[in-house]
Amino acid sequence: MITKLNHVSIFVLNQDSAFEFYVNKLGFTVHTDAPMGPGMRWLTVCPPEQPDLEITLMAIEDGMLFKAGAAEQMRNLVKKGTFGFGVFECNNLNATYEELKEKGVVFKKPPTKEFYGYEALFVDDSGNWFSLGEKK
């Protein structure tokens, strides 16, 4: 049986900028930052209270992963805000919202009471969006 998730990928336009966003704005911890040759880097971060879940900040670049123009298509889709990669959790949504806004994080939706719960939506530096909710 499957017991846990240990890696999940977020496709980003620029790894340096993603580092600044996820580490310096969201406050995530760097798990592994390994140079893999010129222009290539393996970069994973973790939410502060989830050190065993590595979020891979995956650069969208031409190569084996994206072939024949697929990288450009993917970059455009990410920029357009096509992808919602997950739901993050915090202890207090109002306080976290105010803090992240103060740090320059862009929100598509402020904390809002929906029929399914209390949530906000924010966007990363590439265009990926996430739901942010409170711990139940």
Binding site: G63, A95, Y97
Partner: protein
């Protein structure tokens, strides 16, 4: 919206106090001053801060200092320099609190980080799931032959 305003204002004040600690942890921070800045009495501030963040301001400040110390130790800053740079006023209290929060001493933490960085440099594929390395073309040793040696990861298998 009118009813929402006081709530937002309340959170803004608490968050400002947190951000103040996040950015001034290296200084001798007086919790009385932070409470004043946030326009709360000291005891009211401590209670509200704990409600929002789950820690008292003092506990939170200690955690921020320990995290900042980890960053400096990772850069191979000396323990003494790190201790004072992050706002502790004695090596013994720094060392004790560091161990309490991280379950290791500052010097052991520093050595372990250095060792891990050396391992990443020597064999990065040890830290990358094989499926991703394969997709990226990093499993093929030959790909690195075209790059200058100092930028190349090495492989043990």
């Amino acid at each position: 919206m009118t009813n929402h305003y006081p709530k937002i204002y309340f959170y803004k004040r608490i968050v400002q106090a947190k951000i103040f600690m996040d950015t001034h942890f290296g200084e001798a921070i007086d919790l009385h001053n932070i409470a004043d800045e946030a326009y709360f009495s000291k005891f009211h501030f401590i209670r509200l801060f704990k409600t929002v963040y789950g820690n008292t301001p003092h506990q939170y400040l200690t955690k921020v200092r320990i995290e900042a110390a980890k960053m400096l130790l990772q850069k191979q800053t000396s323990m003494t320099e790190t201790c004072f740079a992050v706002g502790f006023d004695s090596i013994s209290s720094f060392s004790g609190l560091f161990k309490k929060y991280t379950k290791t001493t500052p010097s052991t933490y520093q050595q372990q980080f250095k060792k891990r960085q050396a391992q990443i440099k020597l064999n990065p594929l040890q830290f990358i799931p094989g499926c991703f390395a394969q997709q990226k073309g990093w499993m093929k040793k030959a790909i690195f032959k075209m790059f200058p040696e100092e930028t190349m990861p090495t492989f043990t298998t």
